[in-house]
Symmetry: C2
Subunit: 593 residues, 2 copies
Amino acid sequence: MPSYTAPVEDLQFVLHDVLKVSEAQTPGYDELEADITAAILEEAGKLTSEVLAPLNVVGDKEGCRLENGVVHTPSGFKAAFEHVKAGGWPGLDMPEQYGGQNMPYVIGTAVGEMFSAANQAFTMYQGLTHGAASAILAHGTQAQKDTYLPKMVSCDWTGTMNLTEPHCGTDLGLMRSKAVPQEDGSYRITGQKIFISSGEHDMAENIIHLVLARIEGGPEGIKGVSLFIVPKFMVKEDGSLGDRNGVTVGSIEEKMGIHGNSTCVMNYDGATGFLLGQEHKGMRAMFTMMNEARVGVGMQGLAQADVAYQNAVNYAKERLQGRAVTGAENPDGPADPLIVHPDIRRALMDQKSFTEGARAFILWGATLIDAAHRGGDDAADGLVSLLTPVIKGFLTDQGYDMTVKAQQIYGGHGYIEEWGMSQFTRDARIAMIYEGANGVQALDLVGRKLAADGGKHVMAFFDLVKGFIKDNAGQDPEFDADFLEPLKAASKDLQSAGMYFMQNGVKNPNNALAGSTDFMHMFGHVCLGLMWARMALASKQALAADKGDPDFHQSKLATGRYYMVRQLPATALHLNRISSGADTVMALDAANF
Amino acid sequence: MPSYTAPVEDLQFVLHDVLKVSEAQTPGYDELEADITAAILEEAGKLTSEVLAPLNVVGDKEGCRLENGVVHTPSGFKAAFEHVKAGGWPGLDMPEQYGGQNMPYVIGTAVGEMFSAANQAFTMYQGLTHGAASAILAHGTQAQKDTYLPKMVSCDWTGTMNLTEPHCGTDLGLMRSKAVPQEDGSYRITGQKIFISSGEHDMAENIIHLVLARIEGGPEGIKGVSLFIVPKFMVKEDGSLGDRNGVTVGSIEEKMGIHGNSTCVMNYDGATGFLLGQEHKGMRAMFTMMNEARVGVGMQGLAQADVAYQNAVNYAKERLQGRAVTGAENPDGPADPLIVHPDIRRALMDQKSFTEGARAFILWGATLIDAAHRGGDDAADGLVSLLTPVIKGFLTDQGYDMTVKAQQIYGGHGYIEEWGMSQFTRDARIAMIYEGANGVQALDLVGRKLAADGGKHVMAFFDLVKGFIKDNAGQDPEFDADFLEPLKAASKDLQSAGMYFMQNGVKNPNNALAGSTDFMHMFGHVCLGLMWARMALASKQALAADKGDPDFHQSKLATGRYYMVRQLPATALHLNRISSGADTVMALDAANF
């Protein structure tokens, strides 16, 4: 059975040596001293590796079961959920007034990586609840907050997001679910929603569905969509549970992975709903959940890549097969371990350099979210809104590829379910799809975020890269050659691509959109390149100051060099493709495909 | 449920317009007139789309079931197998004297693509039989041939390959299964084999296992391994079946995909075996099967990519979602079909340009195999032995990626099993692993094939590319710019990579092996680039001669241009990685992963 070890040392390195969180000006960050975060991360690490990880295979094998309208989660899930609740983990970064611990989002993110790595399907129950609670926090009335948040922050009640219908996913303007206003100010919600994660299950007293629907008589299309709170059980004035509401589970979807999470068809049959936020502004309210959810999904890409990598490394060290081409390294054994072979190392280094770079990228993004939300920093808000589709799209595409590479190291043993490597790829696959398929992320990036506010945020990103290079160049020729020069070249490629879009996208927007996925990927590489340069600098400084474990820092530098040499130059290929424009992409008539 | 349409027109184009098979000198090719091959391909197309494709999902859902030592195949498999046998398909390219039709291998390959695309798990039962029969044909005594081949060519008896043991897959020198010589010239075989495809099932009267084992007292390691024929039921002098042999199925593996094929743990407990070929030369005999199997597995990569692509195209044309950025294309409908969106097109063009290029590559490889085996052409034999790891490794890595892209077009519907897109990725995944994991293919290519016979074969490949460019340059500036120049640049990258290995691989072989997977991929791209240039030339000539369907040929040219612009330039990135050598790959101590 696969195992999971929480990457506490690496998270601490990113938080303190690289991002230097406790020195940041963001409100609440002054409390993030290294010993405090270490205590939290170690405790979370223990919980995730000892309680959640062993249930990962169980969830995959058993799946969820629907019987007489009741969804049964896999064996052990309910007890583990109580364990998680008792530790107060769901409310880690939620406001104290609703029972949370008010820690910054960056800590929630660091802990969230561990939860997702240990058991993605399980963690989604609390993850969706967190997203729904965030939307109520941002858009609810005080009465709504008081009614729902304390129970959701504790996960006594869980939450869901209801967007998709059979005929519409990305294009929510086609939505048919309707809401009829009632005299008491509530609405009757009718319609069918599909792909509802955690839609129905047996681990919570109540489930709070956030549902997009169209108020009768409102505008056509996306501008007529509103968001509603639809509780599974009505909540009485005193907070106790009342009647069952008119929402039922129709079926559970049979999926490629995340079997431990119940993905439901939900039927709303005149269910009572309460408007959340303003009429016809449902998309705005929903996006509060979606942006957070997208960063969370990007994190899942990293998380699955990391746990798959950890197991692949263990296997590569233990499995004896063949001899090193440069001479036996285990001469007394029947063969050498797989890890002696250069092609195995290449695959492992791809994974290692991705996961460590991605971890820094996500945590950096989380500090920007904190700076925006806690510190009111508009520049940080603009920057993270630009980076969100990159975090989601790039990290889940690459994260999936990394799980496939980890599986490959096992040979035939990776293909049978017994070793658990197949599950990592099957679970990771969904992250490329949900919360906006990655093509939609690329569209959001190129079609919307790049030009937002006159291109201010992308300019800020380039200034940030240039500033880092300028501040650190000329002090160490090796560092310049290994890190700053490749970063500069890659960033230049990214700028050239942006320039191409500006010059060619106006006369024909297809010229921009045909390169959108390539742009998202090259942007991701530049971000990881920046992160590696920052990490390398931190490790160099730590080594010079004789601080920390020299092996850790030497490995960090070596892994960073690998990324700069082997991965970052992909930007040139992406630029090459982008610069070819839309002609070859759009040449065929649909009939000739 | 997904559908499958056999690509008869495209296969005919490759066979006749591009490869011009009926004009080739290879014995038997003179019979391959266009109307003959069309009749065969149409008949096979009908069988595969109407009989085999509908059973694909059935096989995935039901899987195989082991009860009291008997393996039950999924509903409908047995009837379909009888159908296939009645049509004589298993013996299509087998010798007439054993009941086959003696068609060239290239026809077997064209038909094989359809079978694999329609139902890979089902087709493996006859595929393994074909491989085992080929080994007996090449290495068996006349008596062995007479005993086994007629029944195997008809698939009344099926065959298996038994290599892997729990502790050894790639490194077969570690093998423990043993063979004890008996006085009657037979051997007693004892040991356990795992991952045995079609190892036990209910569709054949007898199963002929080819088993690698070590004759007691023989040399250590790989040089002491011999190959044995171990029938499930002993065969009497008169050809009728006798006693059950000492081979039993231990269990069926639970796998990520190809559920319709029974992947068995096989236990040999003093089973009677007959030496096939020479003592201690088992690997040589087994490689007869393996080389054929590797080309066949490369074909599976193409086949799964094609069927996934076909369904993705249908979905992209039907699913209405969003509007074209350049103005509504379906103004009377609620939204435009997915196929109007540039990023959807990019993904579809990636798939289309891959599958069509891969089809030509495989069929070209098959003509080389025919030239070698039927025509005794040593140059063709050398060339195809060089290309075999590229066919296997590149086409299965890329083929898998293409199934993932096809699945992505379905959004959430791609992740649920109902639409069948998940199965294509899960089935395609195995092709990167079995018959030598793709890392081993890369090792074979760079460590063995490249330098074989003094590098003669790779030089021949480059001469072939150069010759094609020289013969066709300077006649049409557009063709030169669109096809010949990109091909020349990519081929130059490949040569530079080979040069790097020569200059740096001798002093440190890790410098070559660290770039092996990149080299395999760039080699694959150059091969597909060559195929696209050849196809484009054929289509250009057909258009000029007003021959065939102009839409078909215009689409071919447009798809080729896409490949040359968007895919072929990947060679530069691979060269870049290769030229960085082994330093960053091998820098870390194993303990620091």
